[in-house]
């Protein structure tokens, strides 16, 4: 391994600098421990946290080796690494357990953890334990288990495995990539559980920017970059703030620098993680232009719940990203009555994870157009095109009404702001005649036209025959023929229920 290149390290604060000499264990208090708020190289520094008890809580852990006495140790000591890892494990487990409905792991009641399994710039979960490593690069030793990002990524694998064990051996790129994405999403969601981090990044997340939260595993990414400069993102291992859009991984190369997508699962995971972070930002921004701390907590919990629901329901298929995305949209409808539908569909469609045809096809354009609509409302009101109408003449003979003409007045309205269809409508007139013909045929086929009374309004009493209430339209005499007009909306139910003259509306049975 090359160790002599003089590559400048990122400036570290005193809090993050590795002290020289033997570790000094000097606990002042046994009620708190000192731990990194985020990754050691995030720049966010340390925080005092309650002593985590890994043998309690719904999800339990067992870190191999003796536990040091709790206390606020200095960074760089084994005791600090132990407690910063334990704190992250406890925090992550306490976040996910109620959301995923977990009470045990695949390996059993307590998840074994090896904080230093040997030499590597990596970490893993293998259904028997979480394993972390150390490696010296250019004179500095990096411990993967010292980063809460790395800890909560691996713990995320274990959580998803307990929640959805069918994903473990699924032989598809998108399933493996989603597992990796879930690890990064777990790191992000677990980090949000710390108020100190929320205070630092809330404005930046709402503004959809790269920040300490979106950057996963800055320190390990830094170490790997020293060895393999193009193997990881430029500012961390993987940044959730990215612009990657879905492409079929079948079409991607098996390997590529981090600047490009490839069919390797960590690389491809960034597509889903990027969408996730953009959705997180959109949900937060939707709460308020100046979201508060409680909004951040609530949005993270809601988004995690959508992931939980979606991963429980999505079938394990080659197009797993699309499956999870679509199930998140459906989960939002079921769980939150569509509260986040706009942002979910906008991001998933924009990033090509869900085809536009699967959701409301115009939703993204409508959302973007709304800002413009609001800005020009006053001006537009004066110049807004008036509703137009078109008369369509239909021979009445086909309905057994002799040599007459049925006249249908069809409203035509084009909105230049709200629909993408408006941009296409100049190419060809919409098939209004065809639609009107089909509609009138349907009315006659369902016996919905009153051809006898000639009166638009109908007096309704308890004695009015039920079939009269089902006549939604009426023919009246007019100069140009028989005018077809709507009389009422019918709810579609079998019984007359007072839904008369449109005061209780429902759609026609078309």
């Amino acid at each position: 391994m090359v160790t002599t290149l003089g590559i400048a390290r990122r400036t570290q604060s005193m809090a993050t600098r590795t002290p020289k000499g033997p570790a000094k264990a000097a606990p002042v208090s046994t009620s708190t421990v000192s731990a990194w708020i985020d990754d050691p190289e995030s720049g966010l520094g340390r925080v005092d946290r309650p002593v985590p008890d890994l043998s309690k809580g719904t999800l339990k852990y067992r870190i191999k080796g003796a536990a040091p006495k709790p206390g606020p140790y200095a960074p760089g000591t084994p005791q600090f690494r132990y407690w910063t890892a334990a704190e992250a494990l406890r925090r992550g487990g306490d976040f996910w357990a109620p959301i995923l409905g977990l009470s045990s792991w695949q390996p059993g009641k307590a998840l074994p953890v090896s904080l230093d399994k040997g030499v590597d710039l990596n970490a893993y979960y293998d259904r028997s334990e979480l394993a972390f490593f150390h490696e010296a690069v250019k004179g500095k030793t990096y411990y993967s288990g010292e980063s809460p990002d790395v800890i909560c990524h691996e713990m995320g694998h274990a959580c998803l495995d307990a929640h959805r064990p069918q994903l473990w051996d699924a032989p598809f790129i998108e399933v493996g990539a989603f597992h990796e994405s879930f690890g990064d999403m777990s790191a992000i969601l677990a980090a949000i559980q710390l108020p100190q981090l929320r205070a630092k990044v809330i404005a930046s997340v709402a503004a959809f920017k790269s920040n300490e939260l979106s950057r996963c595993a800055e320190q390990l990414g830094h170490a790997i970059r020293l060895v393999a400069p193009d193997a990881v993102d430029k500012d961390c291992l993987r940044n959730a703030y990215n612009k990657f859009k879905y492409v079929d991984p079948q079409t991607l190369p098996d390997d590529a620098p981090a600047t490009s997508l490839c069919a390797e699962v960590h690389s491809f995971s960034r597509v889903f993680t990027g969408a996730f972070y953009e959705i997180l930002s959109g949900m937060l921004h939707a709460k308020s232009k100046k979201p508060k701390d409680a909004d951040f907590v609530a949005v993270a919990k809601d988004l995690a719940a959508l992931l939980s629901d979606a991963t429980a329901a999505a079938p394990v298929q080659p197009d797993y990203f699309a499956q999870v995305a679509a199930h998140m949209i459906d989960a939002d409808a079921a769980r939150f009555a569509g509260r986040y539908r706009d942002i979910l569909t906008e991001v998933f469609v924009e990033r090509r994870l869900v085809p536009a045809s699967a959701v409301h096809p115009l939703q993204a354009q409508q959302r973007k157009a709304m800002a413009a609509v609001k800005a020009v409302t006053a001006v537009a009101a004066a110049s807004r095109p008036q509703p137009q109408s078109r008369k369509i003449a239909i021979p009445a003979a086909q309905f057994g009404l002799g040599d007459k003409t049925i006249v249908v007045v069809a409203p035509v309205e084009r909105n230049p702001f709200l629909t993408a269809a408006a941009g296409l409508s100049h190419r060809t007139d919409p098939p209004i005649e065809d639609a009107a013909q089909r509609f009138v045929k349907m009315l006659f086929a369902h016996n919905r036209v009153d051809v006898e009374s000639g009166k638009k309004k109908m007096a309704v009493t308890p004695e009015t025959p039920r079939e009269h209430l089902r006549k939604t339209h009426v023919l009246t005499d007019a100069a140009d023929g028989m005018r077809l007009s709507r009389r009422l909306f019918h709810c579609g139910c079998a019984l007359p229920c007072g839904h008369y003259n449109g005061f209780h509306g429902y759609t026609e049975e078309t």
Binding site: V150, D169, Q250, A263, Q317
Partner: protein
């Protein structure tokens, strides 16, 4: 008012229900792409020895067509 009663009802049609079940050939092609990539990158290695760094799968045998049969052993960070 943001009550459940007054909130606009989302589309009743489920988005997930609009996706199609992939054809068997597509599933097989996806499997092959995934497994070929693992082998090419050295992330799948013969069973029986400790996994090297970044390996995630073991080759536990071969199928009738001579293709390796892979079993996941772990997820790794990078």
């Amino acid at each position: 008012m943001g009550s459940m009663a007054t909130r606009k009802k989302p589309s009743a049609k489920r988005v997930a229900s609009r996706s199609r079940v992939p054809a068997a050939a597509k599933v097989e092609a996806a499997k092959r792409k995934f497994e070929d990539g693992l082998v090419k990158r050295g992330e799948a290695v013969p069973a029986g020895s400790p996994l090297p760094p970044r390996a995630t799968h073991e080759i536990v045998g071969t199928d009738a067509a001579g293709k390796p049969i892979l079993k996941r052993k772990r997820f790794s960070l990078s």
